[in-house]
């Protein structure tokens, strides 16, 4: 079910070329243009229009509903590319997918087809979940839909801090449909503003924000707005279930956006430190700076491993997305926030003096990125979701139970992905997390083909993962009383998941004697963050990563996928076996 006419690789490459061609002075994707819009808090309409003309919207609509979305990794890779240029543009344009996804999951086929048509013709769709007084607590929502006497529904109440609430023509709204509320007390409605009588809705003023200043972050209030019967998405009472499943997909997309920002941060810091001289030596060659750059490069590769495995898991380990998406959304934006903060220290004072002022661009990126860790459920919300699943994760890990075929597909970057089936999404992973449960198996394979130092690192990751699960098994809590130390365990779980992701990817793509640098960088970074003692010779790999980073031509990005090369022997084996 991949797109029939073009391969995902081709379309992502074409988008990269388009973005590059629109990045020159005065053009809509130039850093100066985007910085000016940000300063003026103006929506980047022209940049979004170019993405429309490119056809990016078609990738928000599944193939079966008339669009081009077959392979999730393709659309997420494209959002990563847009995020490198500007997160305001990416968050604003990508919002339409979040607006529509509930209909893809739970809507009638005819409703989905109609929505697909509206989107491909240029309609923006928003998704209104949160309310002024309730934040992430969706079950506290007060916006209410009640049955109208003459059929249909009457919608009342206010949704606030909603991306694109004002600009969108269609808004997916979560509303209370049973007075008592509860997980079956809410339903989703696709509200078509153009069909609402005047005076039955009003858009709220744009809210000034710390980052993504040009985005339409506003709200919408309904005043007994009459909705036709077919505005209901799925069944009455299915709203929370549908949204939780939708977030399994969109949280993974957030990780992709975060990686785009990370790509740009690393590139800006590399070019700045390479160009800036302290005496006759570029800053990037100074030991401390070099080590910091290498640490950032390793951190980004580790986050990239999670993002890559997560977006492939949408297809290959669909039933495990309650774990995978929570890890991706909690880990990747936090990791990138940390990378950005540390790199900012490197170029801070010098950036202020530079003629092109890279500091200015960097500071905008830092502000813009901060929101990614918060929207679609903050890191805390996602860690809480992980902790709720600890007992099951522990059981699956101890039993050595995992989905072997799904794991091979999720971590074999060149294996064709099976079609995505939304009915395989589950509120709770039945199999725990195959990526982590399959770690021991991958470590055994590494032992057979890797150098002794690499094999030793992987053994330590395995030890740390085993110890962590013993600690996770001890966590017991009464309802709504998650102990604080469980959040530390969740963070360590994310690191083990990340290291395991990197390991699986390496095993499936690297021949014996192949390059080990990127994987050693990932494992050294993960072990350091896990509090494991990493010695000086092991840390030297970070300098290798730094040197590779600064030796690349300006303006180029190298993602983890580029390190994984073409289909290797292990990959072809899996592909024919499945």
């Amino acid at each position: 079910m991949t797109a029939p006419t073009t391969t995902p690789d081709t379309v992502t490459n074409r988008l990269d070329l388009l973005l590059a061609s629109l990045g020159g002075p005065g053009l809509p994707f130039s850093a100066e243009t985007l910085a000016e819009l940000d300063r003026a808090e103006t929506f980047p309409a022209e940049a979004c229009a170019f993405l429309d003309a490119f056809g990016l919207r078609r990738y928000y609509v599944p193939v079966e509903h008339g669009g081009a979305l077959g392979d999730f990794s393709a659309v997420m890779t494209m959002l990563r590319s847009v995020s490198r240029a500007d997160l305001t543009v990416a968050a604003s344009h990508g919002k339409t997918y979040l607006g529509a996804v509930s209909t893809w999951i739970a809507g009638e086929p005819e409703a989905a087809r109609r929505l697909g048509e509206r989107i491909t013709h240029g309609e923006t769709v928003s998704c209104a979940l949160t309310e002024r007084d309730h934040g992430s607590d969706l079950l506290a929502g007060e916006v209410t839909a009640r049955l109208a006497p003459d059929g249909g529904w009457l919608l009342s109440g206010e949704k606030w801090l909603i991306n694109s609430a004002t600009r969108a023509g269609l808004v997916t709204v979560l509303a209370r449909t049973a007075e008592a509320g509860g997980p079956r007390g809410f339903s989703l409605f696709l509200v078509d503003k153009s069909r609402l009588p005047a005076g039955t809705f009003s858009c709220l003023p744009k809210v000034p924000t710390y980052g993504i200043r040009g985005a339409d972050i506003s709200g919408i209030a309904f005043h007994d707005a009459p909705l036709p019967e077919d505005a209901l998405i799925g069944a009455v009472g299915q709203g929370v279930e549908t949204i939780v499943k939708a977030l399994h997909l969109t949280r993974t997309g957030c990780a992709a956006m975060s990686l785009g920002a990370g790509d740009q941060a690393l590139r800006l810091a590399a070019e700045f430190t390479q160009g800036a001289q302290a005496g006759t030596i570029p800053l990037a060659r100074r030991p401390y700076i070099r080590r910091e750059l290498g640490d950032a490069a390793a951190g980004l590769l580790l986050a990239d491993a999670v993002g890559l495995v997560a977006m492939r898991s949408v297809h290959a380990l669909t039933g495990e997305m309650s774990v995978v998406s929570a890890v991706a959304k909690a880990f990747v934006p936090s990791a990138v926030d940390e990378i950005v903060a540390r790199l900012l220290q490197l170029l801070g004072p010098y950036g202020l003096l530079g003629a092109g002022d890279p500091h200015g661009r960097f500071a905008k990126l830092e502000r813009d990125h901060r929101i990614i860790g918060i929207f679609d459920g903050s890191s805390l919300v996602n860690r809480n979701a992980l902790i709720e699943q600890f007992p099951r994760l522990v059981r699956a890990y101890r039993k050595g139970r995992w989905d072997e075929a799904g794991l091979a597909e999720a971590t074999g970057p060149h294996v064709p992905l099976r079609p995505f089936r939304s009915d395989a999404l589950s509120l709770l992973s039945g199999d725990g997390a195959s990526v982590v449960a399959g770690l021991a198996d991958a470590v055994a394979q590494v032992r057979a083909i890797a150098s002794a130092p690499l094999a030793a690192l992987t053994e330590r990751v395995l030890d740390a993962t085993g110890r962590l699960h013993e600690e996770m098994a001890q966590v017991r809590f009464a309802p709504r009383a998650v102990p604080a130390h469980a959040f530390d365990l969740a963070e360590r779980y994310e690191l083990c998941f990340a290291a395991a992701s990197a390991l699986h990817l390496w095993v499936r793509t690297s021949p014996a004697g192949g390059d080990e640098t990127w994987l050693r960088g990932c494992l050294v970074k993960a072990l350091t963050e896990l509090g494991d003692k990493v010695d000086d010779t092991e840390l030297d790999v970070l300098d290798d990563l730094a040197d590779a980073l600064v030796s690349r031509p300006p303006g180029t990005f190298r993602t983890l996928l580029d390190h994984l090369g073409q289909a290797g022997p292990a990959d072809s084996r899996e592909a024919t076996a499945s």
């Binding site: 709720e388 509120l427 009464a478």
Partner: protein, 93 residues
């Protein structure tokens, strides 16, 4: 906090009700006879996310795969016991 033992035949409404009562009592750290099986689990503070953990334990106990939303559609121990017996009957045909 050990979970109730599954040694006895529990695949009747009564048996499942007893097992679920013990299970919920364990989570709430209360005696089993303090649990009313006709009261909504949410009234005991088992919120929509937490109650999914009970679904996971049920799966292990009964050795079947359940849609976790079963917990949402049958909000009391009584309703859940009935639904599980129906579910088990289907699984074993």
């Amino acid at each position: 906090m050990p979970l109730p033992d599954s040694g006895v035949e529990t695949h009747t409404v009564d048996g499942l009700r007893a097992w679920l009562t013990d299970c919920v009592a364990t989570h709430l750290d209360r005696p089993a006879d303090a649990i009313d099986t006709s009261v909504r689990l949410s009234d005991y503070g088992l919120d929509s996310l937490y109650v999914l953990a009970v679904a996971a334990e049920l799966e292990d106990h009964l050795d079947i795969s359940l849609d976790p939303t079963l917990m949402w559609d049958n909000p009391t121990i009584d309703a859940l016991s009935e639904a599980l017996v129906a579910e088990l009957a289907q699984t074993h045909v």
